[in-house]
Symmetry: C2
Subunit: 302 residues, 2 copies
């Protein structure tokens, strides 16, 4: 099988964006995506789609981009290169639900190549529940593992540990949520391998609307009050802290003159900060904080 | 006149914290500071004071710290040094008012020295109005200039430009607010000069409660509604973006295992994000955005 070209990969990722948007509109049952097309001065552009008028999803978006041009200085320096043209395409998603009982979710798949032949895939999917729930965590990790296992038995354990390390709010000594998988700089060693990694990223794109629809249907029915909303806003504050302080993708985008509104689509609609907030002993909030840790085996978590 | 020792400077800064807290409690007329004392594992500690139950100030704090120990790797590398003990003391303030008509304010004074004889002062004061108002901007910059001019006629123009550059939200292409002054790595060339820079920082500490009390009294009487509150929350979102993405002090603190709750005392109580928000043409919100620019001469701004 011959290797897909960058243009073909971009087209495949565009279709994945369509698939995800259709699935989320169906899952929410009320809201619709509104598309914003943009072009990049140095080459390429994107289709940023934000969710409007949702019943379950309060704010979020599914962004596709396909950009090219001279490789940013930062990447060149990292790779020890003087000059190269780059091409990058990807789909990026963050969804913030109204209900604190429904988790925040994030997914990203991306492909990068340079005209000197260097290429890699990256991506991942991870869940940030405002309240950690054992059954939800098991379900999510089992689904992600099943998707991984279709391609490589090493993927889940390796990429799960990578997500624990990546989605870590160092200054709080807590993980952003219950993780999932994260991978980067995955380069193919053969044409078959290339197709396999590409197919893996597509499988994540198919998994996403299915898994999140499950949470939308089930968790949006759970009652909650002001206390849970207040906690949600504090957790959203932590989400902001991770994304603006530690997320390599966000930092890179803001640093290299990326499209700010598309990058910061990940921001919650609202967030709050309280000095020295401490959850009540024995509360679900305390349980959550105690489980924002690396290395938890969520597959069998009780 | 002999040079003040680091211990004496810390004591002077401690008194400045007391002076500022007393002035702000008087200005607010209702709220009180609550003190949190903490110690640092590697040496030193601080008194973080947060404002509680305010009539005008919704959230904020006045933090004093005096820390010492082995110099963080990051600073050593920057200075090309292998090893040195450091000492740092300072007062740091951020205040977020309830009313969108009252500006956010920030001030910092700090002193740093190493056992190899290197020393410097840094600091500044800057204003972030939710709504730019010509008279308020003139008043603020004139007061700051008057404080600077008592010490050195070069201070205001130089440090005003420095603030424009420093408090810049690069990914939004806008300044955080209307600036003020910012200075860093000011080293003394004589004992008299040392005393002069120290006195300058104390003058800023005296200026602070006076200037902010002016805004508290005057601007808290201006009526506002839901539209202004919504705009305030968007502006608070930009404040968060600047502090977490660009502020060197915040980044350094979070990176070097500083006391997170004291560093993030600067976060607003609440913030909001809206995709692609555009103020109405001709509105005060648009006027504000149009004046979040570097290089404006606020002293004579009409």
């Amino acid at each position: 099988m011959s290797r897909k070209t960058k243009t073909e990969i971009a087209e495949i990722y565009r279709q994945i964006q369509d698939h995800i948007c259709a699935g989320l509109e169906q899952g929410d049952g009320q809201g619709k995506f509104v598309e914003d097309r943009w072009t990049r001065e140095d080459g390429g552009g994107g289709r940023t789609r934000t969710f409007q008028g949702g019943a379950i999803i309060e704010k979020g978006g599914v962004a596709f981009s396909e950009v090219h041009g001279p490789t940013p200085e930062k990447i060149l320096r990292k790779l020890g290169l003087k000059e190269a043209e780059f091409f990058a395409t990807g789909v990026s998603i963050v969804l913030h639900p109204y209900s604190p009982m429904v988790p925040i979710i994030h997914m990203n798949i991306r492909y990068f190549e340079m005209d000197n032949g260097v290429h890699w895939f990256g991506g991942g999917i991870d869940l940030t529940p405002h309240y950690v729930d054992a059954a939800d965590a098991r379900y999510f990790h089992q689904e992600v593992k099943a998707a991984c296992d279709q391609f490589d038995a090493e993927y889940y354990p390796k990429f799960k540990a990578w997500a624990d390390d990546y989605f870590f709010v160092k200054h709080r000594n807590e993980t952003r949520g219950i993780g999932g998988i994260f991978y980067d700089r995955l380069s193919a060693t053969s044409d078959d391998h290339f197709q396999q990694i590409l197919d893996f990223s597509l499988e994540l794109g198919r998994l996403f609307p299915r898994v999140y629809s499950h949470f939308m249907q089930k968790n949006s029915k759970i009652p909650y009050g002001q206390e849970e909303k207040a906690w949600q806003n504090l957790r959203r504050g932590r989400y902001v802290e991770f994304n603006l302080v530690w997320d390599a993708g966000t930092k890179f985008g803001l640093d290299t003159n990326g499209r700010t509104e598309s990058i910061l689509m990940s921001m919650p609609p609202q967030a709050e900060w309280t000095y020295m907030h401490q959850p009540k002993p024995g509360s679900p909030e305390e349980f959550t904080l105690n489980h924002l840790k690396k290395g938890i085996d969520w597959l069998s978590f009780e």
